[in-house]
């Protein structure tokens, strides 16, 4: 038999064989894909940022359609508009998504925080933390090499002159990449509506905390005693604000008495008090 004919026969044969096998397999193993998933995915911003907790927009679309327990408002960059549309498509109730931004729970600036060691290594917070918890005396505060700045996908963070990262609130989308990156876990996502927050993470005892940082929360409890609503509690020498209770409040009683000004108004609470 002549070769050219055999070549055509074999190649067509192999191609046809696998073509048919694949076609049959496609039928036999067909997945009844929900068309809704694609529709939902179309609405999502497709930044693939993973702020929702899923590996990309497609995975979230699948989860939100298939699983009734997955809320429609997980897409952070999409904000309320996307949440609303996803909720309509999936028949879920859209709870108001609250815009949030990154808030640094530390005010250990170069001048305020005591530096006890000189660090001469890779300028990286995680690396510095490995060596005695960082160069500062306070082992809870910001190390200041800006891992969060590097992690921010939107360029909302920058390193301030005082050695602490600065958040540009108007750029920050609240995706939480910096929160995960910070080895000290001192960045929190805070609501724009939250009136007060404690800008310190130190669990050291009062005298120690004060010695190590002028701006530390010393756990004196003045704010707790001055809060008429019971929104502030002390946890291991650190004041913690319950944002849910605090939100309604327009008095600034807790702020006035703080000896180190560790508790601060993060929205202009005085303006709110005047209009109320």
């Amino acid at each position: 038999m002549n070769t050219p004919v055999m070549i055509v026969v074999v190649l067509v044969g192999v191609g046809a064989f696998f073509g048919i096998v694949l076609a049959m397999a496609n039928k036999k193993f067909a997945m009844e894909a929900n068309p809704l998933i694609e529709e939902v995915e179309d609405i999502l911003p497709k930044g693939q940022c993973g702020a929702c907790g899923y590996a990309g927009c497609a995975k979230y679309a699948e989860a939100v359609v298939e699983d009734p327990a997955v809320p429609p408002n997980l897409c952070v960059p999409g904000k309320a508009a996307v949440a609303q549309k996803v909720a309509e498509l999936t028949g879920k109730r859209a709870e108001a998504t609250e815009p949030k931004y990154a808030f640094l729970k530390c005010r250990g600036t170069k001048t305020a925080a005591l530096v006890t060691a000189e660090y001469e290594g890779v300028p990286d917070c995680a690396a510095a933390k490995l060596i005695l918890g960082g160069p500062k005396g306070c082992k809870f505060g910001c190390i200041g090499f800006g891992n969060c700045v590097k992690a921010c996908p939107f360029g909302a963070l920058s390193m301030g002159a005082d050695g602490l990262p600065v958040v540009a609130k108007d750029i920050c989308t609240g995706c939480g990449k910096c929160v995960q990156t910070c080895p000290q876990s001192i960045i929190a996502l805070e609501s724009f509506e939250a009136p007060v927050e404690v800008a310190c993470s130190s669990h050291d005892k009062g005298a120690v905390a004060r010695k190590l940082c002028k701006n530390a929360c010393i756990g004196c409890g003045m704010c707790m005693r001055n809060c008429a609503h019971g929104a502030i509690k002390l946890e291991k020498n650190l004041a913690v604000v319950d944002a849910e209770i605090c939100r309604e409040c327009t008095e600034a009683a807790c702020l006035a008495k703080c000896p180190t000004k560790a508790i601060g108004d993060i929205v202009n609470i005085h303006a709110m008090a005047k209009t109320a």
Partner: protein
């Protein structure tokens, strides 16, 4: 038995596909940033390679060789591997969704990869028996996974190293791969 063992060890370490034959480098550099992804990829490559070698062996010795068309080996094997990966994807998507989620994107990366094509071709070029070609394919897959996992572990540590700016990223990865390759050269001549 000793024969098979020698073939296996040879494929895993001495003739490691990535580090001594420099095949499959695109996946090697693409995936090795992350250890868990490397483990998944290693498993996917090993299984695809083994199964496509079996198929290729059958096609070669029962179709191509009797007809005297061995010069078609490359083109037929490309079609075969690519369709087989498609088939495997369809099957595990339905039968084993957990596995599919783990392998998902890697499977498609494998579809037209040189290392997956190289193993069946080497099998038939060396005229390995059916069993030998399976052992060789499994060994090659494990060797690939080993190289990938070693590299990923190194690169995860690299995140904390002070790499000079011009070498950051893929540059230092190439240097690391070269060093690993040198280390693996030490095994040559063992068998």
């Amino acid at each position: 038995m000793a024969d098979y063992l020698a073939l296996f060890v040879g494929a895993v370490i001495i003739n490691n596909f990535v580090l001594t034959k420099f095949l499959g480098l695109c996946i090697f550099f693409g995936i090795s940033k992350n250890l868990s992804a490397s483990v998944g990829m290693g498993m996917a490559v090993t299984s695809v390679m083994t199964m496509s070698s079996i198929l290729a062996w059958v096609v070669y010795f029962f179709v191509l060789q009797p007809l005297g068309l061995t010069f078609l080996t490359t083109i037929v094997f490309v079609v075969l591997t690519a369709s087989f990966v498609q088939l495997l994807e369809l099957v595990i998507k339905k039968q084993a969704p957990a596995l599919y989620n783990m392998w998902g994107i890697y499977l498609l990366l494998i579809a037209t990869n040189c290392i997956v094509l190289a193993v069946p071709i080497l099998n038939v070029e060396n005229s390995y028996s059916f069993l030998k070609s399976i052992v060789f394919a499994i060994g090659s897959g494990i060797g690939f996974a080993l190289a990938l996992i070693l590299m990923a572990s190194l690169r995860e540590k690299l995140a904390y190293a002070d790499v000079p700016k011009p070498l950051q990223g893929i540059g230092i990865a190439f240097i690391l791969a070269g060093m690993l390759s040198l280390a693996f050269l030490g095994f040559s001549g063992m068998l």
